[in-house]
């Protein structure tokens, strides 16, 4: 049987540039029509390749451990970890800075933007109510309101209308921010008030309504024990 020219050229392909070294140089010379279609066999992966891949994989893991920042979207080079980024954000939990605009919205109308007080409210600047080391009395004032005569910085004040209760409208976070702000402004320098402290006072006074019907008086507040 005469070799079909088309087939023979097909069979000759393994001899082309890409052909394996092992194949016989004169495949086309053999009777190509009888030869089966060439197939790729399976070979065992050499052990060195497996070890190489294992080593690369291990190195990749180590690299990710050291440079991926725990895959946290908030961690960018050159910072290594979410913990570090958090620690660098000292300004972010600066409650007083957050409280400043809130104070302007909520309290400044009566206590004045500079905390000096006036015809509507006593001063906050320099007030011992504000700067007491333990803020548990201070927190109660905006939560439930305050009325009756009060002494601030050695001066007696009486405001017929008193101070309204704001515990229902202000969250723990906002209240903590406002109180931190008034404790650290206008010459006051007391430690900040944390949201947890506000939550604690809310809990302690849970059966006191925050709708303005149960405002504190100064005398009553003075009986609230302070931690030393």
């Amino acid at each position: 049987m005469k070799p079909d020219p088309k087939k023979s050229s097909n069979a000759a392909r393994p001899n082309g540039p890409g052909a394996g070294k092992g194949s016989s140089p004169n495949v086309s010379a053999k009777s190509p029509a009888n030869e089966a279609e060439p197939t790729a066999g399976l070979a065992h992966t050499p052990i060195w390749l497996i070890i190489l891949f294992a080593a690369l994989f291990y190195w990749g893991q180590l690299y990710l451990d050291n440079h991926a920042g725990g895959f946290d979207p908030q961690v960018y080079e050159p910072y290594e970890s979410a913990k570090l980024v958090k620690a660098l954000n000292t300004g972010a939990d600066d409650l007083a800075a957050k409280g400043e605009p809130l104070y302007g919205m909520v309290c400044a109308a009566c206590h004045q933007p500079n905390g000096s007080g006036g015809a509507l409210a006593p001063p906050l600047a320099g007030s011992e109510w504000v700067t007491a080391a333990d803020p548990s009395r201070l927190i109660r004032i905006p939560l439930h309101g305050l009325s009756g005569p009060i002494q601030v910085k050695g001066q007696d004040y009486t405001f017929p209308s008193g101070m309204t209760a704001m515990g229902e409208v202000l969250s723990d976070d906002s209240l903590a921010a406002i109180l931190s702000y008034i404790r650290q402004s206008w010459g006051n320098s007391a430690p900040q008030v944390t949201p947890a402290q506000v939550a604690k006072v809310r809990q302690d006074t849970a059966n006191r309504p925050m709708n303005g019907t149960a405002t504190w008086t100064a005398d009553e507040l003075l009986k609230v024990p302070l931690a030393q």
């Binding site: 895959f71 979207p73 960018y76 954000n89 000292t90 300004g91 605009p101 500079n114 010459g187 320098s189």
Partner: protein
């Protein structure tokens, strides 16, 4: 091809793995990013660009400004300064703390630092060193702080105060980070150059503003026309060789004005959670309640 399915599966696996790693995972991580509160007034950042600025971005893109300008500030590290925010009243304890934190201080320098607080005590430390130094300065009544200082060549060039992060590009569509820096990075150009008329004149003829500038002029974004009944208020104040003959004026077109509005919206320099910036030390005894000076104060030198 008797191993066809195997090869197909292998290729599929390789592509699927990289698609997961490069598309799915980042999308899960930052795909839902939103505006955050940032800056001195805690406003929403990044601000939604005005319509004019958005059209300006299209001009920026069409003119290929990104072939020469990047919008990506890189940061290679961070250093830490220890600053005495306020000296308080406990002078003796503070003075010995200062000498422990920085051996070799003369008594005169110690009292100078205490008088001039807020004042840096030590600069360019690692975090661990800064923390050790801070321990010495933890004196009742006095207040010392560690201040973060981002470092890197871009920051030294005054192109920004911190690295750019994904948040900065929230509304940038398409993203024109670019990779070639024939001109300076423009991430914070609005902070360096706030004057719109400077930008217009610079676009009209860069060399009139910057000696030897190699930036091409964009005169076709301006229109030269006969002065009508009144000269136009936004006509360019051209001098020297740019001056046009009397009776004529050069006014920016809509495109030039939009482009400048876009440039003036490029102001990515507020500290973010993931790219923090130092908060200026605030004196606890400050009598005013001015928002502390976190405003852009870096007198940024350009690369001239």
């Amino acid at each position: 091809m008797n191993q066809g399915p195997l090869i197909f599966l292998g290729a599929l696996l390789a592509l699927a793995a990289s698609w997961c790693g490069m598309v799915v995972v980042p999308n899960v991580q930052i795909g839902r990013q939103q505006q955050v509160a940032a800056g001195p007034s805690n406003s929403r950042y990044p601000a939604i660009p005005s319509g004019e600025a958005q059209r300006g971005r299209d001009v920026y893109r069409a003119q290929g400004c990104f072939y020469c300008h990047t919008t990506n500030v890189r940061q290679s590290g961070a250093k830490f300064d220890v600053v005495l925010a306020s000296a308080g009243t406990n002078k003796a304890a503070l003075a010995s703390g200062l000498r422990a934190a920085r051996p070799g201080l003369t008594p005169a320098e110690v009292s100078q630092i205490m008088e001039q607080a807020p004042k840096p005590v030590l600069q360019g430390l690692t975090r661990a060193e800064a923390e050790t130094a801070l321990k010495h300065l933890t004196v009742p009544d006095a207040k010392a702080e560690i201040i973060l200082v981002p470092t890197g060549p871009d920051i030294e060039r005054g192109w920004g105060r911190r690295m750019s992060v994904a948040q900065d590009y929230l509304f940038d569509q398409p993203l024109m980070l670019s990779k070639q820096r024939i001109g300076p990075d423009l991430t914070t150009i609005a902070a360096r150059q706030r004057d719109p008329s400077w930008h217009l004149l610079h676009l009209y003829n860069p060399q009139s503003k910057v000696n030897g500038s190699t930036m091409p002029p964009y005169r076709f974004l301006f229109e030269k026309r006969k002065i009508g009944r009144h000269p136009s208020p936004d006509a360019l104040q051209l001098t020297g060789e740019d001056a046009v003959e009397p009776g004529y004026e050069v006014v920016p077109t809509e495109r030039a004005r939009a482009l400048v509005a876009y440039l003036l919206s490029m102001d990515a320099q507020f500290g973010l959670f993931e790219a923090p910036l130092p908060v200026e030390p605030k004196r606890p005894d400050a009598t005013t309640n001015q928002p502390s000076a976190t405003a852009p104060t870096n007198a940024a030198p350009t690369n001239r």
